[in-house]
Symmetry: C2
Subunit: 377 residues, 2 copies
């Protein structure tokens, strides 16, 4: 989002493009808003969304906890002063030596979704609290998580019993309704399934304490999405309905929901062209594309909003692509976009809500192009 | 390809995974083979396929020329001793100041496919030789180039006349039949279209000298592909048929065809799991995935071949995924793959023919994971 601070910075400095500018006050505002919307849930910021030191520092100062996808992200959190007890090793896919390293560093909460992972945890993080990820439906998500993560409820229950029997603490279950989830109602079915696992395990003598509600909280891109309060209400109601008075601790793992709207990518038009004089649609090539950070345009899943200095001028249809010699480096060819007819090479184009995922997906240097520079204000 | 040199290196050093090991002798062998298959064509190595210094050095020593996608790739080529006159700035999408820098460095051959690009070239590289890229059909390609590049034949002819009128040298036309093109017959229609542009321009007083046949020469992954000689024959025949005795100079831009089969990615199994005890298919999670370099598995386009130390054991169906917390980081879910039933976490898995594109597509550190290490033997 183009906050006054970002607008001033861009106007005063005219930094080289492509670059990402993030307003940390907006990060803080989003964090506080999420806390208010779900006051009972601990917030574990999903570091993968934007692991930049200034973001981690600001959130750490606000008392946020952290959901880490790798031992390297754990080390990044510790480096900004996070307590090991405030970090969850949330990736269900972990190398044995990374588990051991996290355990030595004092991390005590781990995700898993498979027997082999549980065996690794029992051996390399004895006594740790573990939670099992359930496979749930991702319909309604802009960036679905598919079947890669989680296991069936039946398997989860068996694995949590096995966790207890192998010296781990079977602490709870988790799920993820899919990133950029725009339907607040989607948490309900997942919460219901989780509640059944709690009941099943209680009957088998295992008392779970934690429900990890995952992330998925959407950001506003081109199309509007329900506000975070709608998600808070839907989740709170569903928790009451399915857990009643036996309410477990809950945690959420927002990433995109905290940082996406805090960032703006400034890019430059490299070329505007037509394939034939009779074509109505133009091709607009930017100096950032799918391999410079905008990987979430894959299958045109995330539809960004573009702004230019010529936005008052008459508009016409465009396809939008990146600067590399790669046919896959197209941002939008099927989604109908329109940009000013006066747009030309050298013009600046601002891409809104790019504070999440736009820097870490960037390639090391595909076609020789360096990743975008980053500024945190 | 697992050459004896690569096998020895892996056995002796057991390098940390994930890592790419490239046999430079195999690079040289592929280069020589291509030269023999198309003796009349100059070879411009497509640097983007693998811009590692040892690859550029070896090819430079063999007399290869270079197809650069950016000013940065041009500087990499010059740094290993390539002459500016042996470099083509092959990207049709170039910033004005990058054109000027290339021109100052002595590069004199540029691609374009649009009026605005031509104007930039006329202003910033006056007198340069330019060639216009034609839009052609990419059917049969494993990694299609779509409609992102090129323009219609009619527009190309008009632009080449305009090139002459603006002080540039209208030197020729180019096309690209799509990367990993497995049908040698696909060049014919493109060559026919190019020949018509040559004729059209001759009638308008412009004599073109160059036909750039592009790249697209395939590598052997899981499925076999026709040998390079079949492509050489098909192209040579088509050139005779459509150009007769008025044969222009030709050049090719192989990237994948030179380096892919020279490399092996060594990775490690992080987890093998089932989603439910009744599932037949297992999920195999490797320490490299779509965001660690294997981006060409997008839509399961490029289907790699996997080898393990347990390959004699009974096999079963698998889905294969990368190590990140991202639902899109799946290599193969629809394509039927089978791996040994005995496979488990910690086992090594070798991914064949990964010398092209597997390093440059790698993200800077998605989920905290560094790009694969690289070894050139």
């Amino acid at each position: 989002m183009m906050t006054p601070k970002i607008a001033d910075f861009l106007a005063r400095n005219r930094p080289r493009t492509p670059c990402l500018v993030v307003d940390l006050d907006k990060v803080e505002e989003n964090y506080r808003h999420l806390r208010r919307a779900l006051p009972r849930a601990e917030v574990y910021y999903a570091v993968k969304a934007n692991p930049a030191v200034p973001v981690l520092k600001r959130l750490c100062g606000l008392g946020s906890r952290f959901d880490a996808a790798s031992i390297f992200e754990i080390e990044d959190c510790l480096a900004v002063g996070a307590a090991p007890s405030d970090i969850s090793f949330g990736n269900t896919i972990k190398k044995a030596d990374h588990i051991a390293r996290a355990h030595r560093l004092g991390v005590g909460l781990f995700a898993f979704d498979a027997a082999e992972e549980l065996d690794k945890l029992a051996e390399h993080a004895p006594g740790a609290r573990v939670y099992c990820r359930l496979l749930v439906d991702n319909e309604g998500a802009g960036w679905p998580l598919s079947r890669k993560f989680g296991c069936s409820a039946r398997m989860a229950a068996d694995l949590l019993v096995r966790a207890r029997d192998s010296g781990l603490v079977p602490h709870g279950v988790s799920f993820h309704v899919g990133s950029q989830q725009t339907d607040p109602g989607r948490w309900e079915a997942a919460i219901a399934r989780a509640a059944m696992v709690f009941t099943d395990l209680r009957e088998r003598g295992v008392e779970l304490g934690l429900l990890n509600l995952g992330g998925g909280f959407p950001a506003r891109y081109r199309d509007s999405v329900p506000g975070i309060d709608a998600f808070g209400e839907a989740i709170t109601e569903a928790m009451h309905r399915h857990f009643g008075n036996a309410m477990p601790e809950t945690l959420i793992e927002p990433g995109r929901g905290i940082v996406a709207e805090a960032g703006v990518l400034e890019s430059e038009v490299v070329l505007v062209s037509r394939k034939d004089p009779d074509d109505e649609a133009r091709w607009v090539y930017l100096d950032i594309g799918k391999f410079g950070g905008l990987a979430e345009t894959m299958d045109e899943s995330i539809r960004y909003d573009f702004a230019t200095d010529r936005d008052g001028d008459p508009m016409g249809p465009v396809h939008i692509a990146g600067p590399t010699c790669d046919g896959a480096d197209i941002l939008y060819e099927k989604t109908a976009y329109r940009l000013p007819l006066t747009l030309k090479a050298g013009d600046r184009v601002r891409i809104d809500s790019t504070g999440a995922y736009a820097t870490t997906y960037a390639s090391v240097g595909f076609n020789g192009f360096a990743p975008p520079s980053e500024y945190y204000l």
